[in-house]
């Protein structure tokens, strides 16, 4: 009890004492007991205003409750029509509220507080995450709406580097009787398509090599016959290509190195190559302004800025132990190493991580490589040498297969990666005018090996954020607590346990691209969708989130014994206390009229 409250209590007691003595001294037609009661009422009411009183609620628990119907977007019309005014119902959707004259829930926390004991039955696509979290331990049943037709999910990489393939994967819910064609459009030109011939939720996959640079909107259309059923936009931010710094260590001049060097030159990569031309003699070249100088000896720190090192196993084996230490350190700090594995004997310590075996069929003249990630089969590659294969192990991530055998694989080493490849004549593709296969192989090898030392800004945000709805943004691995969106600063809230994670919420008011700037990071872009974009996907996601939430809660409730909550207390309304005070005071005033008469 605070001092002020003690003071009030003391004053009240004094007032009560005064009233008692005063009323006892005077005579009045109003009986003394009534006057004392009135005085106690007035002082009690006054105390009640200072110390709020509450009383237990028992009215709703007295009788069994029927479900309180909550209609969300997507509730079947049949359900809405059949629900009558007599049933307790409310909606979170303004359209439903207007059309069917159903009360609209403006403030969700107040609403659930008001109907604390009523079990909820949520119909439709469900409620948003913050509303779900506010439900607490309330009894709720979820009645999902039928799955919406159209694009129910779609994923793509929102930030791409130029000359990287855009890959779009998703699911389409086909409710039409016929076929549906999914078309990816770039610059209003169809660039890839996928036919969905069966009904139900069907996966699709589209890809395209973009020609744009910058913030681009690709388009996705679903066409049935000549009718466009759905049309959605895919925002992708395409950044200019960043050249790599590449080093090469070759045991002897070869066409394979020549072609890789030529290709990297065209891509404006900075290349430093050292080719052994005789015992202890090297030919070195620096291309496109490469700063690295590789003499006869790999100096400590020489490879610190190198993104990728391509080396023959024979040449690595010829390095001194000190050079090996430097190389090891560079890889552990994030450099990528591609080793051209070519022999069983005389192997370097790094290449021994790849166990080589002879391919079963050594007589074949052509080999066919299959990519592990997308199962793409590359054109046949003529070979004149026996092919070595890499034995599979737990630490390896296979990249390319020849039949069932691994011919290229990668594994982690510190922060960097080491990739081994046993193919030594991939340049033959280039000679056969199959540059696509060549670039596919080497792009995949290099992509899987190199890493970006300057980590880009990593963030997550609400799926398909739209204008006029809360968007939650979570920055990962960023100690900054200040972000700027479209030049407006927004404070960030640090995570309770993870200091590098910060979240913020903001309310976009218009659709389009918004720049996101976090200190010490490159500018990023967010796209705010229009309210009618990706409806089916958002509804499907909402439904899945609700179903998951209630399923998890049900599993949790089964494990934990139910706690019986006491009857909640309700505070005594102030107006009642005020009236009581007035009543008491009025009685005392009426009685005091006679007092004045006595005093002459």
């Amino acid at each position: 009890m605070e001092l002020s409250q003690i003071f009030f209590l003391f004053m009240a007691l004094l007032a009560l004492g005064f009233i008692y003595l005063n009323e006892k001294r005077h005579e009045s037609p109003v009986p003394l007991a009534v006057r004392l009661l009135a005085g106690a009422l007035a002082v009690g009411a006054l105390l009640g205003l200072v110390f709020p009183l509450s009383y237990p609620t028992t009215s709703e628990t007295a009788t069994p409750q029927t479900d309180f119907l909550i209609f969300t977007r997507g509730t079947p019309e049949e359900m809405l029509r059949t629900s009558t005014n007599s049933t307790r119902r409310a909606t979170t959707d303004t359209t439903i509220a207007q059309r069917y004259n159903i009360p609209f829930v403006r403030d969700w926390p107040t609403f659930i507080e008001h109907h604390r004991q009523a079990p909820f039955a949520i119909h439709g696509y469900g409620i948003v995450e913050s509303q779900l979290n506010a439900l607490d331990g309330r009894a709720v049943t979820f009645h999902p709406a039928p799955i919406p037709s159209g694009f129910v999910s779609c994923d793509w990489v929102p930030v791409l580097q130029a000359a990287t393939r855009l890959s779009v994967n998703g699911q389409y819910h086909n409710t039409t009787a016929g076929d549906v064609k999914i078309i990816l459009l770039s610059a209003s030109i169809p660039v890839d398509s996928f036919s969905i011939t069966e009904q139900g939720i069907q996966p699709f996959n589209l890809s395209h090599m973009p020609k744009q640079t910058g913030n681009t909107l690709f388009e996705l259309a679903a066409i049935s016959g000549i009718d466009t059923i759905q049309f959605e936009r895919l925002p992708v931010s395409i950044t200019p290509p960043r050249p790599l710094e590449v080093a090469m260590l070759a045991a002897a001049p070869s066409f394979e190195y020549k072609f890789i060097t030529n290709w990297f030159e065209q891509l404006h990569y900075q290349i430093t190559s050292r080719i052994r031309i005789s015992s202890g003699k090297f030919s070195t070249s620096r291309i496109n302004g490469a700063k690295l100088r590789m003499g006869d000896y790999l100096a400590p720190g020489a490879l610190d800025d190198v993104d990728l090192l391509i080396a023959d196993d024979t040449e690595l084996a010829a390095l001194s132990s000190a050079e090996h230490t430097h190389l090891n350190r560079a890889i552990q700090m994030g450099m990528g190493l591609i080793i051209r594995l070519n022999d069983h004997t005389n192997r370097s310590p790094l290449s021994r991580r790849f166990v080589l075996t002879n391919a079963a069929d050594t007589t074949q003249t052509k080999i066919t490589l299959t990519a592990n990630d997308d199962r793409q089969v590359l054109p046949p590659l003529p070979t004149s040498h026996p092919l070595y294969t890499i034995k599979d192990s737990d630490v390896l991530h296979p990249l390319f297969y020849q039949g069932p055998h691994i011919v290229a694989a990668t594994q982690a080493h510190g922060l960097g990666r080491i990739t081994g490849i046993t193919i030594s004549n991939s340049h033959t593709w280039w000679l056969q005018n199959q540059q696509g296969a060549y670039t596919r192989l080497w792009s995949s090898l290099v992509d899987q090996t190199i890493a970006d030392r300057r980590a880009p800004l990593s963030y997550k945000h609400t799926h398909f954020p739209t204008a006029y709805s809360w968007m939650e943004l979570t920055l990962e691995s960023s100690p900054n607590l200040q972000a700027t969106i479209d030049q407006h600063p927004y404070p960030m809230r640090q995570h309770e346990f993870l200091p590098s994670v910060a979240t913020m919420r903001f309310w976009p008011t218009e659709s389009g691209w918004l720049s996101l700037n976090v200190p010490e990071n490159d500018d990023s872009w967010l796209y705010i969708y229009r309210t009618d974009d990706w409806h089916a996907a958002r509804d499907y996601a909402s439904m899945a989130r609700n179903e998951y939430f209630f399923k998890q809660r049900k599993e949790g409730q089964n494990g934990i014994s139910e706690e019986k909550e006491e009857n909640p207390k309700k505070p005594l309304p102030n107006w009642a206390l005020f009236i009581a005070f007035l009543t008491g005071s009025a009685i005392l005033w009426y009685a005091s009229k006679d007092y004045n008469r006595n005093v002459i």
Partner: protein
């Protein structure tokens, strides 16, 4: 009755008469003027406002000349007296006041006045008097319409001369505001045979070499009008006879491009100027095949079947033939030209079918004819066909042993046998006259048996171990193997023979089909479905595939066996003279087969540096030095920058569909894109000009960008940008320390 009544009656008749007369004169004057101006407009453009003026003038002249207005009351009364006998030639009395008349005059006037109401005025003037003028008007109008229509037709075919009326150009949304009329006259080159063409559109498509005359009429007087080609090349229009409303320019474009009209410095929209190229004559030779060998005994004639096509007309065609005779150093060439012009009729296409007699060209056995077809079109462009080779087989060459002596002889006895068969057959033919029929037939049959044995031995190379399948003619492919030309009875007999030879007389049911054979009920096509499937499908256990030969060699060997079979058939049926061509053909095919198994590498002189034996194997590497080089990949920075700008523009345009508002950076990007598209439109106006127009409209911000407009620009830029190959990128960050996040996710209940 009032004495004035008579006068009033006469005045009324006068007015009626005047009205009818004036109406008639008006009709005549309109008729005359319409006809006259229609004739005049045939040569000189006549503005329509001249018509009413001319009509008024003609009417005035007519009225004045006929003196209608001078007709007075007396003349009217005279006319009334003539028309109405009831007036008794005294209607003039009615005009005079009664006071001036004597008593008789007053009496007569009084009588006349009483009669006047009974007179029908229609007898004096009525509508019939207008028949003639109206008929004249109708005729003149009809004639004028015919004349004007004829003149308009002429306008479309004859060149637009100075002063000829120009038709109004159909409304175009983007044409220059000041242009009221446009006429473009395209005069294609004479050799195309196309006539002059007049159009009212400013989009021009013309054959290359055409002369183009653009005539424009402006709605307001201008100081200068010029033609701007490709945005830079400016040619001034010349005003017609000092008139600042009508301008013309003539030019002969050399390449496709686009142009604008500059009216007092203000440039119009862009118009394409596409020149259709004159393609050379397309030559298609259907016969002969590129390499034709005419075997011994076959007609030495080659059938040439050529079709020529040109877009404007073929002028000349000929065969350029070269005959090569002799061998080695003694080879000689003789060239000839065989004109085909007679076979070309007037037109754009020609189909030529001609037989070339090789003997008439002077070819002998062993000679080779190389020829190609050459054709010129009307503009003199020359085109040639591929070279075709026709070889007359030299039988003596087949007996040349040089290849066998020097080369690897795989199966020498087989080749000798085939030659021997030919030698023996020729000997038999030469001795035929001296031999008895039985003896000749016996020798022929013996040769047939030899041929059969040879065929069987060759058949082993194809995996044909039983005779039934030998030669690939086991009742299924005569058409393909060269028996298609044989008469049906020969096929049947061959079938019978083979069937009977391979027959096992002891098998079950032999009796039945022995009768069938006698009845001649054999078939040349496989009847059961399994045989058909076996022929069409790939089978691993086929004897034919179990050989070391590739598909081409097998086909060649099969063809050889077929020819051997043909020889054998004729020898066995005692026709050695007919068998000889087939025997030669079989021998030639065998020789070719033999040659194909060899590889020939020409000798070349080489001069190697002599080895320094003193340094050899000393392991001295002192003189081997490492090298260090530095170089950069040559980059076209301007092209690279343009490419980057275009790719940025493409991305920007994709957003413009949503934003619908052009901003400053966007306008700058569009300026750069405009330059690139303009350059491309210069080369391919048909492809890029619409995009350029759309881009300029967008830049002018006259309207909100439409989807179609943006799509046009996007398509053009998309086409200008080349597709990139995949390129490695840094996709994975190095320092992403997500282990704490993963740990937190694991311990946090969901």
């Amino acid at each position: 009755m009032d004495s004035k009544f008579g006068r009033q009656w006469i005045m009324k008749r006068k007015k009626q008469w005047l009205a009818f007369q004036l109406l008639a004169k008006m009709c005549y004057s309109i008729a005359v003027v319409t006809l006259a101006l229609a004739i005049v407009s045939y040569a000189i453009p006549t503005p329509y406002w001249t018509y009413p003026l001319a009509c008024l003038a003609a009417f005035a002249i007519l009225v004045y000349a006929t003196g209608i207005l001078k007709v007075g009351d007396k003349e009217i009364t005279s006319m009334l007296d003539v028309r109405f006998p009831q007036l008794q030639h005294s209607s003039a009395l009615l005009l005079q006041p009664p006071t001036l008349l004597n008593s008789l005059g007053r009496l007569q006037a009084g009588r006349l006045q009483q009669r006047l109401p009974d007179l029908d005025s229609r007898h004096f003037v009525n509508h019939r008097s207008l028949y003639k003028p109206l008929l004249s008007l109708f005729l003149a109008g009809a004639l004028s319409v015919i004349i004007i229509q004829h003149a308009e037709k002429q306008e479309n075919v004859v060149p637009v001369e100075s002063g000829l009326p120009m038709k109004s150009m159909p409304d175009q949304p983007d044409r220059a505001a000041a242009l009221s009329d446009v006429a473009v006259v395209i005069q294609p080159p004479t050799y195309t045979g196309l006539g002059k063409r007049l159009q009212n559109e400013l989009s021009i498509t013309a054959p290359i070499g055409s002369s183009i005359d653009i005539q424009v009429a402006t709605s307001a007087a201008l100081k200068q009008v010029s033609l701007v080609v490709d945005g830079s090349e400016e040619t001034p229009f010349s005003a017609k006879q000092g008139d600042s409303l009508q301008w013309s320019v003539s030019f002969r474009p050399q390449k496709s491009s686009y142009y604008q009209l500059s009216l007092d410095g203000e440039r119009s929209a862009l118009y394409p100027l596409e020149l259709t190229p004159d393609l050379p004559v397309s030559i298609q030779v259907r016969n002969p095949i590129p390499y034709t060998v005419i075997d011994f005994g076959f007609p030495e004639v080659v059938t040439l079947d050529v079709s020529l096509t040109d877009d404007y007309g073929i002028k000349h065609a000929e065969i350029m033939a070269t005959i090569s005779s002799g061998k080695g150093e003694g080879v000689s060439f003789k060239s000839q030209q065989i004109a085909l012009t007679n076979d070309i009729h007037v037109g754009k296409t020609a189909k030529i079918k001609r037989e070339i007699d090789l003997k008439r060209l002077g070819m002998a056995a062993g000679d080779e004819l190389y020829f190609y077809v050459k054709a010129n079109d009307n503009s003199g462009q020359e085109s040639r066909s591929d070279v075709f080779v026709v070889v007359l087989q030299d039988t003596s060459e087949l007996f040349n042993m040089s290849g066998l002596v020097t080369g690897v002889d795989l199966v020498p006895e087989y080749f000798r046998s085939q030659r021997q068969i030919i030698i023996d057959t020729e000997k038999l033919i030469s001795e035929m006259d001296t031999l008895t029929t039985i003896r000749a037939q016996q020798r022929s049959n013996d040769l047939g048996i030899d041929q059969q044995l040879l065929r069987l031995r060759y058949g082993q190379f194809l995996g044909e171990e039983a005779e039934d399948a030998i030669g690939g003619h086991a009742g299924h492919d005569h058409e393909h193997q060269g028996l298609g030309h044989l008469p049906q009875e020969e096929l049947v007999s061959h079938s019978k023979l083979r069937a009977w030879q391979n027959h096992d007389p002891n098998h079950e049911g032999h009796e039945n089909h022995a009768h069938e054979f006698e009845r001649g009920e054999t078939t040349e096509v496989p009847v059961d479905i399994e045989t058909l499937i076996a022929e069409m499908s790939h089978q691993h256990d086929r004897a034919e595939d179990a050989t070391f030969f590739d598909a081409e060699q097998k086909a060649h060997l099969k063809a050889t066996l077929t020819e051997m079979w043909n020889t054998e058939l004729r020898l066995r049926t005692y026709k050695p003279r007919e068998a000889l061509p087939y025997a030669y053909k079989a021998l030639r095919l065998l020789k070719e087969l033999q040659q194909k198994s060899r590889a020939y590498v020409g000798k070349a002189n080489t001069k190697t540096t002599p080895l320094n034996l003193e340094k050899r194997l000393t392991a001295d590497l002192d003189e081997i030095n490492g090298s260090e080089s530095t170089h950069d990949w040559p980059t076209d920075h301007a092209a690279e920058k343009t490419r980057q700008q275009l790719s940025l523009t493409l991305a920007y345009l994709s957003n413009l569909n949503v934003v619908q508002e052009l901003d400053g950076p966007g306008a700058s990007l569009l300026n750069d894109a405009e330059r690139s598209i303009m350059a491309a439109a210069g080369d391919e106006p048909g492809k890029y000009l619409n995009a350029l127009k759309a881009l300029r409209l967008l830049k002018d911000r006259q309207t909100a960008p439409s989807e179609a407009q943006l799509a046009l620009i996007e398509h053009a830029i998309h086409d200008l940008l080349e597709t990139r190959n995949e390129q490695p990128t840094k996709k994975r960050p190095v320092a992403k320390q997500d282990i704490y996040q993963i740990y937190f996710d694991q311990i946090t209940p969901r």
